[in-house]
């Protein structure tokens, strides 16, 4: 079995209104090639689940500027000025979650758990409208799990079956998102043959991954450069 496909083939995997889990923290661990492919499609009204909306002119910021994003679920959008303006005009819906709640909600989504109780955000504006419960004398709020129609993630290496290993802090949300997407597409720096990755060090087992594509970007100094 070989899950490696050409990057342009992934365009047909998305549809209007999809909820797309997108890995990355800042640009670290963001599937830039997959996002570029999305820019070439006509799909719209997307809900994007991601810690933030890319960086100026890069990653999800491009998708947002093309008007494809209807709603964003994440923890930090403040530095994206255009998103802040769109939100204040009512053109972009935003669900703001504490970063740990976001991560855990996606983990639950992929693990067959409907939701969880957390102490984070109790008594704050972000707890408004959420069920509260006292457990062993402490206040908790209920947070629902998050799943996606498609998860787009970035890893360092994949074998042809879709086993994945990551690079340093580019791991971030990617392993959870790999578990919580109905369709999972992994963009990687390097593709190797089955057997070349040490099973002891595989972070995401192939069971979660549907497609693998080769990233077109490489790291040059302090930038990601399109190189392939």
């Amino acid at each position: 079995m070989d899950k490696v496909i050409e990057s342009s083939e992934i365009r047909k995997l998305f549809k209007n209104g999809d909820q797309i889990l997108t890995g990355g923290f800042g640009l670290s661990g963001t599937p830039l090639t997959i996002i570029d492919e999305l820019l070439e499609t006509d799909i719209k009204d997307l809900t994007v689940v991601s810690n933030n909306l890319g960086d100026l002119g890069q990653g999800l910021h491009k998708l947002f500027m093309q008007g494809k994003i209807k709603k964003a679920i994440g923890s930090f959008f403040s530095i994206n000025r255009e998103a802040v303006i769109a939100w204040s005009k009512g053109e972009l819906e935003i669900d703001l979650l504490p970063q740990g709640t976001l991560a855990e909600a996606i983990r639950c989504g992929g693990a067959g758990i409907g939701g969880f109780y957390t102490k984070t955000a109790v008594g704050t504006e972000l707890a408004e409208g959420k069920e509260e419960r006292v457990i062993d004398g402490e206040r908790y709020i209920f947070e629902k799990a998050i799943k996606g129609d498609v998860a787009i993630i970035k890893a360092a290496k994949a074998d042809r079956l879709g086993n994945l290993v990551y690079h340093t802090t580019a791991r971030n949300f990617n392993p959870m998102m790999a578990t919580a997407g109905n369709i999972v597409i992994a963009e990687v720096d390097e593709i190797v043959e089955v057997g070349e990755l040490d099973p002891e060090y595989i972070v995401t087992p192939h069971a979660y991954v549907d497609y693998v594509i080769q990233s077109k970007y490489s790291k040059v100094g302090s930038e990601y450069v399109e190189s392939r």
Binding site: G100, A103, G123, S222
Partner: protein, 218 residues
């Protein structure tokens, strides 16, 4: 003092609070500066985007833009380091496995409840890991100059900015004094400036008291 000097004084004082072997999360701003004053003390720095064992900023040759801290600045990692995903990283935080979180604040009230994520009258679209850290770290130390640019005290009777959670912080290190928070509320633990308790009370706008363990030698 110049504002940068004040920030360094605060960072240096906080570094003294940290103990050998502790797992510590440093927030953005003054907290980040704390790492410059650790000297030979072995403290393990955690960053919520998935690294325990953060090292100093990289040189140009070993810069790796995928290896960043929670402030999205490039970092390095130590030999003892480990990488993990964001869910595990916040499990570490919420689960009480981080010994100390050092956080910046906009306000802290006299009971120790803080506001550090939302500036009033501006669209609030970012919270990051602030609320998880306040909630979960074993000890929370907050760092800030005591007065905002407009002269208002950041130590307040009641928060006027949005709260970050119901958890009370343990220590507030400012440029004027170090404050502790107990069941009886805020107390002055030590002075950082040559100032009397009366003068400090006048400046913040309400009466302050010394803590039982007030250290006058500082």
């Amino acid at each position: 003092m110049l504002s940068q000097d004040k920030r360094l004084v605060i960072a240096k004082r906080i570094a003294e609070e940290l103990k050998e072997g502790q797992i510590v999360n440093l927030g953005i701003g003054i907290p980040t500066l704390v790492s410059e004053y650790l000297d030979d003390k072995e403290v393990f720095l955690q960053t919520e985007n998935g690294l325990l064992g953060m090292g100093p900023p990289p040189t140009e040759e070993n810069l790796d833009i995928e290896l960043i801290n929670a402030g999205k600045e490039p970092v390095t990692y130590l030999k003892s380091a480990s990488f993990f995903n964001s869910a595990d990283s916040f499990g570490l935080i919420r689960g009480g496995h981080v010994d100390v979180a050092v956080l910046g604040i906009l306000q802290v009230d006299i009971k120790g409840e803080i506001a550090n994520w939302a500036v009033p009258d501006q669209p609030i679209l970012g919270v990051g890991g602030a609320m998880d850290l306040v909630t979960g770290a074993k000890k929370v130390i907050v760092a800030a100059t005591l007065f905002a640019k407009d002269g208002t005290s950041k130590l307040v009777k009641e928060l006027t900015y949005k709260t970050s959670g119901i958890r009370k912080v343990d220590l507030f290190v400012s440029d004027y004094a170090v404050f502790t928070f107990t069941d009886e509320g805020v107390k002055v633990l030590e002075m950082m400036e040559d100032i009397t308790l009366d003068e400090l009370s006048k400046k913040v706008g309400f009466n302050l008291e010394y803590a039982a363990e007030f250290n006058s030698s500082k």
